[in-house]
């Protein structure tokens, strides 16, 4: 046990160098049935980058997000996120690791029985912030996402775009280093999709590394950010200021 811990620390120093905040080295993930979801993936993301991960269904995007959240363990290869060796990390260290990640989902995943304020405060309570900190941080982050006036509203009283803003506020309130957004505009109309993307860009400009998994061709092409394209579990293209590559 002690040996693997030492090995883990060595790897951490070796692979987590320079400005890299996420490193995947020859990562493969196979499930019990079917073809491997990821196959020898190498990816390096620097601190403060804005990266789109695009690809069709079954390309391995969701598996990659789950690996980065340490919801899954790779079958082989190494993953290092913010200095945490996710292959060898101890179970009890996972909560601490996840507190440095913000996550936004396509279906928002807000708590329907709680209002906007409580949904955002929920993330602070989980990290055991004091009431004083919660009272200071929650209104501030709600103002950042443009929902300061709606803190009493329940999720069902909000539009899709507003619900996604609440989800982003919840993801940001604990000041994570990385924001993972899994199809954040999947349930939104074009106008709201653009607003959410602009908000994510603003968050990135303030120093947070942002990874967006998306299918939205127009947005990817218009925003001129780094685009990693995946197909059948491998990265087929990785371009700075890239665009959405059509399957055909």
């Amino acid at each position: 046990m002690a040996k693997s811990e030492v090995r883990g620390r060595k790897r951490k120093r070796q692979s987590f160098g320079n400005d890299e905040i996420i490193t995947l080295e020859n990562v493969s993930k196979a499930y019990a049935t079917g073809a491997p979801a990821l196959n020898g993936v190498d990816l390096r993301i620097r601190r403060g980058e804005f990266v789109f991960i695009v690809g069709d269904s079954g390309s391995g995007k969701s598996t990659m997000i789950k690996l980065l959240l340490r919801e899954l363990i790779p079958t082989s290869g190494n993953i290092n996120v913010m200095g945490y060796d996710l292959v060898h990390i101890r179970h009890r260290k996972i909560p601490k690791f996840r507190r440095n990640l913000g996550i936004v989902f396509q279906d928002f995943r807000l708590l329907k029985d709680r209002n906007v304020y409580e949904n955002v405060a929920f993330a602070q309570r989980i990290i055991q912030a004091s009431n004083k900190e919660i009272k200071r941080n929650v209104p501030s982050i709600l103002a950042t996402v443009g929902l300061a006036g709606k803190y009493k509203a329940k999720p069902r009283q909000l539009s899709g775009g507003e619900q996604q803003r609440v989800a982003i506020a919840r993801a940001l309130v604990n000041r994570p280093s990385i924001l993972l957004a899994d199809e954040p505009t999947g349930n939104l109309d074009p106008k709201n999709s653009w607003e959410i993307m602009k908000l994510l860009e603003q968050i990135n400009e303030n120093g947070t590394t942002v990874l967006v998994v998306t299918h939205n061709r127009e947005i990817v092409n218009a925003m001129q950010k780094r685009v990693v394209t995946m197909k059948k579990g491998v990265i087929v293209s990785d371009e700075e200021k890239g665009g959405y590559i059509d399957e055909d």
């Binding site: 009890r92 996840r98 995943r109």
Partner: protein, 298 residues
């Protein structure tokens, strides 16, 4: 843990109870029924033991001496009896006292015809025991002591009292054990449903970085609160019932008043209240912690 987190956890535990209130009510009712029966048995057993103890105190062994025994020898036998651990107290009854007692009880004015004491050789020691089950050991010892002619005992009374006492205890333990198992099972079901209802919330908590303890503790608190509520209800009911039942027995069976010596309600509840609450909390804790460990691998 911060104080605010502590209160947040307690609040979530209470909210859980109300979220699936029907299952919570069923669990409270089962624990309540379990602890009501426990309280009932406890009250009955404590009173029964009290009655048995009082009866045992009346059970004695009588020792008669050889004819023509000297007073010194009688005192020597008395000293030997005093050394025995089974003995709580002994009384010496001289031949004259024995005759006086007999006359008073059975002969009355007809005793005038006797000029001499017919019980001249009936001086005795009346020996009372600490525990009636120790009677055979004492009797066999006394039968071997030099100078003792006869040992009278009440073997049937002693063994019956001991036997009934044990039987009531065994039956009570059996019934309470079954009810415990049912209570734990029901609490486990309530918590399982609570986990299913809050699955989405638990997933989000995990993604945000909640510790296992933070995710699990509201469910354990829920179980323990159900246990506390489930224990307080029967305590209240038994408190009201206890005095009423004793009052009823004393009125209906007043001829048995000398035989039945009931404990005051305060004496029974001094033990029953803490034991019931601890058992309620224990059942709640066990039922919830096992379920949380099984269904919440966070």
């Amino acid at each position: 843990m911060r104080i605010s987190t502590f209160f947040y956890t307690i609040r979530q535990g209470i909210i859980n109870i109300f979220r699936n209130k029907w299952f919570s009510l069923a669990s409270i009712a089962t624990i309540g029924a379990c602890l009501f029966l426990f309280g009932l048995f406890y009250a009955v057993i404590s009173n029964f033991q009290n009655i048995v103890k009082t009866a045992q105190e009346g059970v004695s062994v009588t020792v008669f001496f050889d004819e023509g025994i000297s007073q010194e020898k009688i005192e020597e036998i008395g000293a030997l009896i005093d050394k025995r651990v089974e003995v709580s107290k002994k009384e010496f009854i001289s031949a004259d006292e024995a005759w006086e007692g007999f006359k008073e009880e059975y002969l009355g004015e007809y005793a005038d015809g006797f000029t001499e004491n017919p019980l001249a050789n009936s001086a005795s020691y009346e020996i009372y025991l600490n525990d009636v089950s120790l009677q055979p050991a004492l009797v066999s010892y006394l039968e071997g002591v030099d100078g003792i002619r006869m040992v009278n005992r009440s073997e049937v009374t002693a063994s019956t009292l001991t036997g009934v006492n044990a039987l009531v205890a065994y039956i009570s333990v059996g019934i309470i054990a079954i009810l415990f198992a049912v209570s734990i099972f029901l609490i486990s079901n309530t918590v399982t449903i609570g986990i299913a209802v809050r699955k989405e919330e638990i997933t989000i908590m995990k993604y945000i970085g909640a510790t296992d303890f933070f995710v699990r503790s509201p469910f354990v608190i829920e179980g323990m609160l159900i246990g506390v509520i489930g224990s307080l209800l029967p305590i209240g009911i038994i408190y009201v019932l206890y005095n009423k039942v004793i009052e009823y027995i004393m009125i209906k069976f007043h001829m048995l008043t000398k035989l039945l010596s009931f404990l005051p309600v305060e004496e029974v509840f001094r033990t029953l209240i803490p034991v019931s609450i601890c058992m309620g909390v224990g059942i709640g804790f066990l039922g919830s912690i096992t379920t949380v460990r099984k269904h919440l691998r966070v």
